[in-house]
Symmetry: C2
Subunit: 554 residues, 2 copies
């Protein structure tokens, strides 16, 4: 067999004809989902509808060229659109030319960052976000998005800063509801929810939004509801493919976009990788995080160059893409070609599409992202993780997306240090007839008089050094007969400078009192660093390979 040229993506070089039917079907079905979603998410981001369409062409091709997932569907997604709106609203008026320029710059910055992370192989950066923080963030964002769409559903003006303010604004303006808009919006919502209940996870259910879009558009066009009943519609969508080019904002605006771009990149990357990974595992495929960074980075740069805004791998569309039989990123290429066709010939069809219908599709899409069962699981297993979930979700709702996710990250790190600062310390003895040692409080074990054998179940570092020292001093005070202290280091993977100072001081003080300090089960990497320190030199001959040896010695 001839080797395909190196510059071709692997999937393309080894493309088999039997993969085509799956890719064709999936590309078609995803496009039918993508048309209403791209219009709706552009509205959510405060951008003109054509930007959603633009963000659904070149980015898909760029990802197909560089990404590693066979089934990830890239394009505009709800959470990144919300984050875009949240980043830009302090800087410009939604829909204004400056706002559009800033959205494009945001995609460019985000793309460049992702590419840089990929080149630097920083794929692990995504791990700074724990599962509960990610779930809390997505849940909070989904609720914030749903609340933010309610005014579109009811034909009310927008208002309110955070989630509570928006709810309050809706309640106080309830008498001003426009009845026809509300009928369309709530009708579309009810229809979508009913379709989901009837069709469940069936692929047909994924076509429901397109059906509702057609019904809503037809109703407006038929009775001219935009003129007669004030129903707000999408209006003119310019026909034709996007121009390639780039107009950049000034330095100050660019600086203000750095943090949002970083957060959009990280969140988008984490979301994409987790979807891509769970789909890949079902087919025993693997995705490569650093390649995903390149793929998503290229997709965002491509989006910026073609007048789009930040894109990433979407949860719902990727699942549909997979279920519809996508075998390779060719499915995405097909979607891109179909979207180009839509832009060339069908934009006129969107003129009469009511905002209320788009809002209904958004609400139904994001409600799938709410994950309260994660909170419930975390609550049972680990209260601190449940707290991180709740704090992140509440932070997003009350303080905004950026503050929310930063609070979540800070909280995860804080919990980590807090836990490590209060280590479990067990006095241990030998399980009779073995060389195994366990906690005297949990097991029937043998101890030796005059020997205090301790196991510290944590790395020794600045946040717990003093506590460990005090614990040992307290144990020694209760048993004046102790002549040897054996510190079992099986749980100690790191000893930092602060803890080294503490141990050095402790050893010297114990020696003055005629008490010997010995160590056991010091791990290789820890011992490598310890042996050249003054403490290591003093401890020579008193560091035992196993607890058993340390227990029997002396």
């Amino acid at each position: 067999m001839k080797q395909p040229p190196r510059w071709l993506p692997t999937w393309l070089g080894s493309y088999r004809r039997d993969q085509l039917p799956g890719d064709l079907t999936a590309g078609l079905i995803v496009t039918v989902m993508l048309i209403p979603q791209s219009l709706a998410y552009a509205m959510l981001a405060g951008l003109p509808p054509e930007m959603g369409l633009y963000a659904s062409i070149l980015p898909l091709l760029a990802y197909a060229a560089l990404g590693s997932s066979m089934t990830l569907a890239v394009g505009p997604v709800a959470v990144a659109s919300l984050m875009t709106a949240s980043a830009l609203q302090p800087l410009a008026t939604p829909g204004s030319p400056e706002y559009v320029t800033l959205a494009i710059a945001l995609a460019l910055l985000s793309g460049v960052m992702l590419l840089a992370f990929g080149l630097l192989r920083l794929g692990f950066l995504a791990q700074l976000l724990s599962h509960p923080v990610i779930s809390g963030f997505i849940t909070g964002s989904a609720l914030l998005i749903a609340i933010g769409q309610a005014h579109h559903l009811l034909g009310l003006p927008a208002g309110g800063e955070h989630a509570l303010g928006q709810v309050w604004h809706l309640l106080t303006h309830l008498p001003e509801v426009e009845p026809v808009t509300a009928a369309i919006g709530l009708g579309a919502l009810a229809l979508l929810l009913l379709m989901r209940r009837w069709l469940g996870a069936h692929l047909l259910g994924k076509l429901a939004p397109m059906g509702v879009v057609i019904l809503g558009t037809a109703a407006v066009a038929l009775w001219q509801l935009d003129q007669s009943a004030g129903v707000r519609i999408v209006g003119e969508v310019p026909a034709g493919l996007p121009m390639l080019g780039l107009s950049l904002p000034g330095w100050n605006a660019t600086l203000a976009l750095l943090l949002p771009a970083l957060l959009i990149s990280l969140v988008g990357f984490v979301e994409s990788v987790s979807v891509a990974q769970s789909l890949a595992l079902k087919r025993r495929q693997r995705i490569v995080p650093n390649k995903e960074l390149m793929g998503l980075g290229a997709a965002n740069v491509a989006s910026a160059l073609s007048g789009g805004y930040p894109v990433t791998g979407g949860f719902a569309r990727s699942v549909v893409n997979f279920a519809a039989g996508a075998q390779t990123p060719l499915a995405g290429v097909i979607s891109a070609a179909l979207m180009a066709g839509v832009l060339l010939g069908l934009t006129g069809w969107f003129h009469d599409l009511p905002h209320a219908v788009l809002a209904a599709t958004i609400v139904v899409a994001v409600l799938q992202l709410v994950e309260f069962q994660t909170l419930r699981h975390a609550w049972r297993y680990d209260r601190a993780d449940a707290l991180a979930f709740a704090a992140t979700a509440a932070g997003v709702l009350l303080l905004g997306v950026e503050a929310g996710i930063l609070a979540g990250v800070a909280l995860s790190l804080g919990v980590l240090v807090w836990r490590s600062s209060r280590p479990h310390i067990a006095v241990i003895g030998r399980v009779p007839g073995t060389e195994h040692f366990r906690n005297v409080l949990r097991h029937q074990v043998q101890t030796r008089p005059g020997l205090l054998a301790l196991r510290v179940d944590e790395n020794l570092f600045f946040a717990n050094a003093t506590l460990v020292e005090q614990h040992i001093e307290t144990l020694l005070a209760t048993d004046p007969a102790v002549r040897r202290v054996l510190l079992v280091c099986s749980g100690v993977n790191q000893i930092d400078t602060t803890a080294l100072d503490m141990l050095t001081e402790l050893e010297r003080r114990l020696a003055q009192q005629g008490i010997e300090l010995a160590l056991a089960e010091v791990k290789g990497p820890v011992m490598d660093r310890l042996q050249h320190t003054p403490l290591g030199v003093r401890l020579q001959g008193r560091v035992y390979l196993s607890t058993h040896e340390g227990f029997e010695a002396g």
Copy 2:
């Protein structure tokens, strides 16, 4: 023997006559150090000289009543004075009435915070600062203080934002040096450095600053150098004890002081406790961190009530106090009484004291705080800790004291997560003839075909869950014969929700491939939480007490 009344401090209730000579000597010697230091540090803080004297009376009594150290010398110190100046300069003009009010409020806030931390038993909070961060902070502050005094030594106007700016300002204004001031300042500096070299650690050396102060004052008074040569002097110091009372700034100013007050409290507490602890250990005494919080808190509230500014336990004066034979806080009470005497009768003597001499005493005092040997030690033992030292010191010099210490704390936490995110994972085998298991790469050990026994030397949590999973997958890919994976959890002290999700997924995937996952040496607290999860249920019968049992089974 009659029990002393409960409201008396323990040391006072059980005071022995033979302790008096030591306390008297120490109280006297510390006072001789305290007089020039309190004037100098008030100047450093941008406050009128009498505030330094005020801060050296009541705070000493308050600490004597509530503190736990027998030898800590409380009062104005260099680093807290620098932090005071740095907190107040953005809010008011140094020396103005508003500036004075803010300094008093800062002492009050800091005192209230310390008392609150003491009541809440938050003494462990100080452990958020690792030794390298504290050393880096003190070193950076000492250099910043020394650089900041250079213009006093040379008779130049002050100028420059951060350390580099100040150096640049000095260099560009060098032609404007006032020769007489410079002669006095540099002469005093040379004299102090020579005295230190000749007298070494001898107590007489500690009296040198007072000698230089007397010489400098006499020279100015004799030749009226303030009039004839423009030498800047302390000027009028109001006689009499401070009035008790409190005038508070507005809400906005109070809010702006919260973070500086917190940082001054934490840094002062950490510095005091470490000095007090190292001195107490030399005499087999103990200090109680939560009592120290109360003592220092009361001292700061007392300082605020008597027109002083933030105080804490000073390094140099405490060491002298100890060396001069202080037995109890009565030494501090004696210092306070002598300082009160100075305020009542001797303030006139300070009128002609030149600023340049005070600056020289500050420079010599703070140069002792520079600890580059800590950096050297850390560099040898732990590069990341050395980096934390250097970054904190550089941050203080270039960004200011608050940004510097916050950067140091963030860096310590970052290093912690970074290290834990790249755990040491060892494939292990049995040391022949024992039940002990070690790394196959470091030791001659026995393995079993079909069994992959792994020890992960780190807690399993969000920052390393993916990496651990990938590592296991990679090992499995290299040995397709493996039918059992034994994960030895002796180094795993925590498993968070993210890692639990990873393990659950891994176990299910391995089971599909006919590979069994088993655990060994799971610690009690980890098992307690694990056993009720779906993973715990699936793993029943496959969690072994010892690695040995896990190795032999299956």
